[in-house]
């Protein structure tokens, strides 16, 4: 510390520091400033008593208010559920068409559906619902099990190939693996399926496979290969391929005959949740 210096014009002692000729006066603080400090200390002590404050070996001092953010979150969630009650109740009574047409119900279903889809469906169908190999695209206008509101609701509720009552059961046979067809027949059939989607194919092979298709495939896929939505049989003429469009992918599917599984969501969700999800998917798809 430097020696005591008095500022000439004001007669006030300075701190003794000097910057470029500017000195700082050492005026006393106003008393209320001190009181504010004491008040802060008092407030801190009150806080210790009221709120969780001091850590210990096995937890912490809970404070007499027993404030807990965890408890508050649970409480808030319950409140939120009660708040949503009105709209949720309307979802229960309104038909799917009414929900989609009414601006308020639609907005509620879309918001709820988006969250539900992200949490439950996006894992397989993708965040945007565009699917992937083995998982159907839900945004276009090609549907395995039907794209109307009621059909979508049914598919979500019962699922696909889960073994639960109501769920779809049809399965493509593994023509190659189970040696139902010979390798040459499968090669010809592959060409036939390529030709169905209006792509250039080996004419001789297509001609050879015509009878095989009529015998083995037409029962499910139809004589023209247009599929059947009531049984989840894909349309082979629409240019959409669940397991890939290349000759190798088509041949692989004829050999191994895979079929995807979708959970029975009716066991996990209540009907109005499924309704919200249905409207969300239908509204975002190339609706039917």
């Amino acid at each position: 510390m430097s020696e005591r210096k008095i500022d000439e014009p004001t007669g006030v002692e300075t701190t003794g520091h000097e910057w470029d000729g500017i000195r700082e006066l050492d005026n006393p603080l106003p008393r209320w400033w001190l009181w504010t400090w004491y008040a802060s200390i008092a407030a801190a002590i009150v806080y210790w008593v009221l709120m969780p404050a001091w850590p210990g070996l096995h937890g912490f001092t809970p404070g007499i208010l027993h404030q807990s953010d965890r408890v508050k979150v649970v409480h808030d969630l319950a409140e939120l559920k009660a708040l949503r009650g009105a709209e949720a109740a309307q979802l229960q009574t309104a038909s799917l068409e009414e929900i989609e047409r009414d601006p308020k119900l639609q907005a509620y279903a879309m918001a709820a559906g988006q969250a539900l889809f992200g949490d439950n469906c996006a894992t397989c169908h993708g965040q945007g619902g565009t699917g992937g190999k083995g998982y159907p695209n839900l945004r276009d206008d090609v549907w395995l099990w039907g794209g109307s509101l009621e059909q979508i609701q049914h598919t979500i509720t019962y699922g696909v190939r889960t073994g639960e009552p109501g769920a779809g059961v049809t399965l493509m046979p593994a023509f190659g693996r189970d040696q139902m067809l010979k390798d040459g027949q499968i090669d010809d059939l592959t060409e036939y399926v390529v030709a169905l989607s209006r792509r250039p194919a080996n004419r001789a092979a297509v001609a050879r496979a015509t009878q095989v298709f009529a015998e083995q495939c037409a029962a499910c896929h139809g004589p023209e290969g247009r599929g059947d939505q009531t049984k989840g049989v894909p349309n082979l003429t629409d240019g959409e391929w669940l397991y890939g469009s290349s000759r190798e992918a088509i041949r692989d599917q004829i050999v191994n005959g895979r079929g995807g599984v979708m959970p029975t969501w009716g066991k996990r969700f209540d009907p109005q949740t499924i309704k919200a999800l249905t409207v969300y998917i239908h509204a975002n798809a190339g609706g039917q």
């Binding site: 945007g128 945004r139 206008d141 609706g287």
Partner: protein, 498 residues
């Protein structure tokens, strides 16, 4: 560090005794070694009568009336919207001001209002000094009101000083208790009125008394009660000196031509006591009676010149005029005057007053500009607004027939108080169809109904036939109702690389 600005340098040394202004007393005490902390020196402003005091009373009544009456003014709005003329509706995200209602997105109007207020303050300060501080600032108004109550219970300056010095007695007790009770009442009324600006006043006042109001209402009422009680009752001038930034900023607004409360030293010096019958020759008009000092609510001596503490309220001018009348000298020894005028008269030249100066022109120009912009903005404000969010997952969807569909979420804001049906159109791509959930695709416009005073989030799909342009095509969404129109730019993704 707080700095007590001292302008006593160069003043004639006081002959004997203590300095008279409170600020000077603070300094004197500090010089004697007052310790680390400075107790507030109580100020006992004496009651004064006169022109400025009358204006101050009028301003007090006017501003307090505005404050207490405004939330109770009703204003008819349709469709279940608030019926309160002035309402800051945080829950609903709206600000209502008579015929105007602002949305949070239009906060720039508030910014403009604040800029206007700042410019007006600059202009007034450059012309007439701190009129705001002296007459209209809530700190001044409520302090004035509290001093009025104090005077009613404890008497004027001398009685109050005696009472504070006296030992506790029944008389002192009931006077002090009464004063604090009324102060708390006013403070509660102040805090209570504040919350009415944020909630429908008649509903809130009923809920408030039966414990049904929101917790925030009680918290803010208590907060404003405490701050009013403390700021107007106890800290008073310390708020202006230590807490408020404006006294420090105003130094940049004032110049030697700014009118402010001025002790006309050219006329007053040399000061000194004057006995009746003595000559006024060879001396100034100031009789050193300290009338200007004892009335000052800031505890300063105006004869020290313009200073940070002075709020320009003119009470010292009133006090001095009274004395000048008594001693038979002309009024206006302390008056609204400029430094330049005082200097000119001291030099024997006539005083010149310049209200029109570059500085005042700049401030007036800036104020007019901002006001004009605000007015233009308010009158040309669109009641329909559109924002478009393009789907990112997926960017596009290809249909069986080769057509491409892009999804968009339209945020359509309807700022009117009535439901509006808007027609949504898509421009930039030929032959497209629009589709919204719940309705079939159409080549025309899609109709969307938006609730009054609300934003509707609408899903719109644009379907382009096969064979359209590749790459991204710039496009525009247009929404129209009967009166208004809004548009937003977007892009149509064909899904085919360019």
């Amino acid at each position: 560090m707080t700095v007590v600005i001292d302008r006593t340098k160069g003043q004639p040394a006081r002959a004997a005794g203590e300095p008279v202004s409170a600020a000077a007393r603070v300094r004197a005490k500090a010089a004697r070694g007052g310790g680390l902390y400075q107790p507030r020196v109580p100020i006992y402003p004496k009651l004064v009568h006169g022109r400025w005091r009358a204006i101050k009373w009028a301003m007090l009544i006017l501003t307090l009336t505005i404050y207490w009456v405004t939330p109770w003014i009703r204003w008819a709005r349709p469709n279940g919207l608030p019926q309160q003329a002035v309402l800051v509706d945080f829950a609903g995200g709206r600000f209502y001001f008579f015929g105007i209602q602002l949305w949070p997105q239009e906060v720039y109007f508030i910014t403009g209002l604040l800029v206007m207020a700042a410019m007006a303050l600059f202009l007034v300060s450059a012309l007439f000094g701190r009129l705001w501080c002296g007459y209209a600032c809530p700190q001044t108004v409520w302090t004035d009101l509290f001093i009025y109550v104090e005077r009613a219970f404890e008497g004027d300056r001398n009685a109050r000083m005696r009472l504070d010095a006296a030992p506790w007695s029944f008389d002192k007790l009931w006077r002090k208790t009464g004063k604090h009770a009324v102060w708390l009442g006013i403070a509660f009324g102040t805090g209570g009125a504040w919350i009415f600006y944020f909630h429908d006043a008649p509903t809130l006042i009923r809920g408030f008394w039966v414990g049904q109001a929101a917790v925030t209402a009680y918290i803010f009422c208590a907060l404003l009660t405490v701050t009013t009680y403390v700021f107007a009752g106890f800290t008073r001038e310390q708020v202006c000196i230590y807490m408020c930034p404006w006294p420090r900023i105003q130094g940049a607004m004032l110049d030697q031509h700014s009118l402010q409360i001025t002790y006309r030293a050219d006329r007053g010096e040399a000061r000194g006591p004057h006995k009746k019958g003595e000559t006024w020759e060879g001396r100034g008009d100031c009789i050193d009676c300290n009338a200007c000092v004892v009335v000052c609510p800031m505890g300063i001596d105006i004869r020290d010149g313009a200073q940070l503490e002075c709020i320009n309220c003119g009470l010292c001018a009133d006090a001095c005029d009274e004395i000048m009348d008594k001693v038979g000298r002309p009024r206006g020894l302390i008056a609204y005057d400029t430094d330049a005028a005082v200097a000119a008269r001291a030099g024997g030249k006539p005083a010149v007053y310049k209200l029109v100066r570059p500085r005042t022109l700049y401030y007036a120009g800036a104020l007019s500009l901002v006001s004009a912009l605000m007015l233009w903005g308010l009158t040309h404000r669109s009641v329909l607004e559109l924002h478009v969010l393009r789907d990112r997952t997926p960017m596009y969807v290809r249909m069986q027939d080769g057509s491409v569909r892009d999804g968009y979420t339209l945020k359509i804001a309807n700022r009117t108080f009535y439901p509006q049906t808007v027609a949504v159109a898509f421009r930039g791509l030929n032959g497209v169809q629009l589709k919204t959930p719940g309705a079939p695709a159409t080549t025309g416009d899609v109709l969307v109904t938006v609730e009054p005073n609300a934003v509707r989030s609408a899903r719109i799909f644009v379907i382009a036939p096969p064979g359209g342009p590749s790459g991204d095509t710039p496009a525009t969404f247009i929404v129209r109702d009967r009166h208004d129109r809004a548009s937003a730019q977007t892009v149509f993704d064909s899904g085919v690389p360019k």
